[in-house]
């Protein structure tokens, strides 16, 4: 989409929400802390949700089992980081990142490999059958969680932040956690990479076209089922990366963590418009900010706030902020 035709209104919602929260939070430093925390949470949720929205947009598949890739990624990271104590314990950012990077890559590889199996065994037999998709993918997630318990045990496992990423940076009176800045950076890099692939490569063009009209893509001679497998695997790998980020954000991992995040992810992709990565980013940032502001201002309504946000946005744009598919 050219800049002259880009719809800026949904994007403006993010600063508008932040500005509305500014007078309500009482102080600029509190507002800055909450805003960075919200953006960090939003970026992590975006990493997780971006693959899911493409999977739905491309093949009309409702994958309620997406959470298992999140949990798997986080658990794999605990194992990788456990063996790199010398790197994570050092008070040196570069050594810490040298531990985090392989943990993220291995988590993505394992989650992606599981995604390949999941698509073949669980999703493929139920193409075009939404009710069965919901049931079988939820069943797949339950099985996945049980398998995680078999390998790592049923108890929660700590996933402490590497030494140099602990603590906060002070901006005036505002304390901003270092890890949250890293999360914003990683989320921004993932988004930039996705935008580049989707807009600058032929595979990306095919994905964007397939989300809009997969029958026409097939009529042009492309096998969309192969493309879908690729997107499913990449989406699963990104969920694995998101799981590592989420686990470090919470500093603990449990087998049910994917199921806990699942509702949030579906809110994000519905707000964003099914199939839209830019929409998923906007939705994730709104959800992250809303969760942090309401958690501070009115903790009792925090759980409800994101549902209310989704309802409000759907009243404004019934197919999400950036509708791509006509479904």
């Amino acid at each position: 989409m050219t800049s002259s035709t880009f719809d800026w209104k949904p994007l403006a919602l993010v600063p508008v929400l932040a500005l509305i929260a500014l007078p309500l939070t009482g102080s600029a430093s509190t507002w800055l802390t909450l805003t960075v925390a919200g953006l960090a949470m939003g970026m992590i949720v975006f990493i997780i949700a971006s693959g899911l929205t493409l999977v739905f947009g491309l093949m009309d598949v409702l994958n309620f089992g997406h959470g298992v890739f999140i949990a798997l990624g986080a658990f794999v990271a605990t194992s990788v980081l456990a063996g790199m104590g010398a790197y994570t314990g050092a008070d040196n950012l570069w050594l810490n990142l040298m531990a985090l990077l392989p943990a993220m890559l291995v988590a993505m590889a394992v989650a992606g490999a599981l995604g390949l199996v999941f698509e073949r065994l669980i999703v493929r037999p139920v193409y075009g059958q939404h009710l069965k998709q919901i049931l079988i993918t939820m069943g797949g997630m339950i099985i996945g969680e049980e398998l995680i318990k078999v390998v790592w045990g049923p108890e929660q496992i700590p996933l402490p932040l590497p030494e140099a990423l602990r603590g906060s940076l002070l901006f005036g009176e505002a304390a901003v956690e270092k890890y949250r800045l890293l999360a914003v950076l990683v989320g921004a890099l993932v988004f930039a990479a996705m935008v580049w692939v989707l807009n600058r490569t032929k595979v990306g063009l095919l994905v964007r076209a397939g989300v809009q009209d997969r029958e026409m893509v097939e009529s042009l001679g492309y096998r969309i089922s192969r493309l879908f497998v690729g997107v499913f695997v990449v989406g699963s790998a990104l969920a694995g990366l998101g799981g590592v980020m989420w686990g470090l954000y919470q500093q603990t991992v449990i087998p049910q963590m994917g199921a806990q995040v699942n509702v949030l992810i579906f809110i994000v992709i519905i707000i964003g418009g099914l199939g839209s990565t830019t929409g998923a980013l906007i939705g994730a940032l709104l959800v992250g900010l809303m969760a942090n502001y309401t958690g501070f201002l009115a903790p009792k309504v925090a759980l409800f706030s994101n549902i209310a946000l989704m309802v409000a946005i759907l009243l404004w744009r019934p197919r999400g902020v950036y509708p791509v598919t006509s479904r």
């Binding site: 989409m1 050219t2 035709t5 032929k202 063009l205 029958e215 026409m216 009529s219 042009l220 096998r223």
Partner: protein, 246 residues
């Protein structure tokens, strides 16, 4: 005619769910000609094109393209065999630019540089709007421009056979004339075309041969010129007189 047939349908039946739509279609599309597929609404024209394209599979009968049985082939394989399809709804990717739509249609091209420049210039000559709106989102084009894009996409690389579903539908007369001129040039390039149409005036100006469908069967086939000259036959087959459409 069948000796140089590029596409042949023999006794093709197609079911869509519980509905039996095609009831034994026999159709021959001669190589290098423009064949018009006419018929009233619901006669089975679109279903015939979709069956040829593999979007719906024939439950009985055979579809043969250039001597190869393609009845059971998947749509991408049929497209790779040299068949381009322009559906009734045009099937353009509205969020993609004109440039991106054409780049996708050029299967062999990774970038625009890989598309034959002469062919691209030829398309710009046929449809100047494509050059003018090159970087615009296709969804912002007018109905006529979208139809031009849909046809451009079908011809951005050489194809054996074009399947085009009602290209004049909903277009202003000036745009229809523009489209007729474009199809004349395509005909001159010896491209084989099977074109579904309801506008008989459009059809008679372009068609070399014609097949008329009714109730899921081909009820008449022959030379377009013969049908255009026989108002009684038109009235019988299509329920119209040519005079009413001029």
């Amino acid at each position: 005619m069948s000796a140089d047939a590029l596409l042949t349908l023999a006794g093709v039946h197609t079911h869509i769910g519980a509905y039996h739509i095609l009831h034994g279609v026999d159709l021959v599309v001669p190589r290098g000609q423009l064949t018009m597929l006419l018929g009233r609404n619901g006669a089975g024209k679109t279903t015939t094109l979709r069956t040829i394209m593999g979007l719906w599979h024939a439950s009985q009968g055979t579809v043969t393209l250039d001597g190869q049985d393609i009845t059971r082939r998947a749509t991408p394989d049929i497209a790779r065999g040299g068949v381009a399809y322009v559906p009734e709804n045009m099937g353009i990717f509205s969020d993609l630019s004109v440039r991106e739509n054409l780049l996708l249609a050029a299967r062999g091209a990774r970038t625009l540089d890989d598309i034959d420049t002469e062919r691209l210039e030829w398309i710009f000559g046929l449809f100047p709007a494509m050059k003018k709106f090159w970087l615009h989102p296709a969804g912002k084009l007018s109905g006529g421009q979208k139809q031009m894009l849909a046809v451009s996409r079908a011809i951005v690389e050489p194809r054996q056979l074009l399947l085009i579903d009602e290209p004049s539908k909903g277009l202003a007369p000036a745009i229809i004339q523009n489209m007729i001129e474009a199809f004349r040039q395509l005909k001159a390039s010896q491209t084989t075309i099977l074109l579904v149409e309801q506008n008989f005036n459009f059809a008679r100006q372009l068609g070399d041969s014609v097949a008329v469908m009714d109730d899921g069967r081909v009820v008449h086939s022959g030379r377009m010129a013969d049908l255009a000259a026989d108002e009684e036959l038109q009235a019988k087959l299509l329920g119209l007189s040519l005079g009413a459409h001029q």
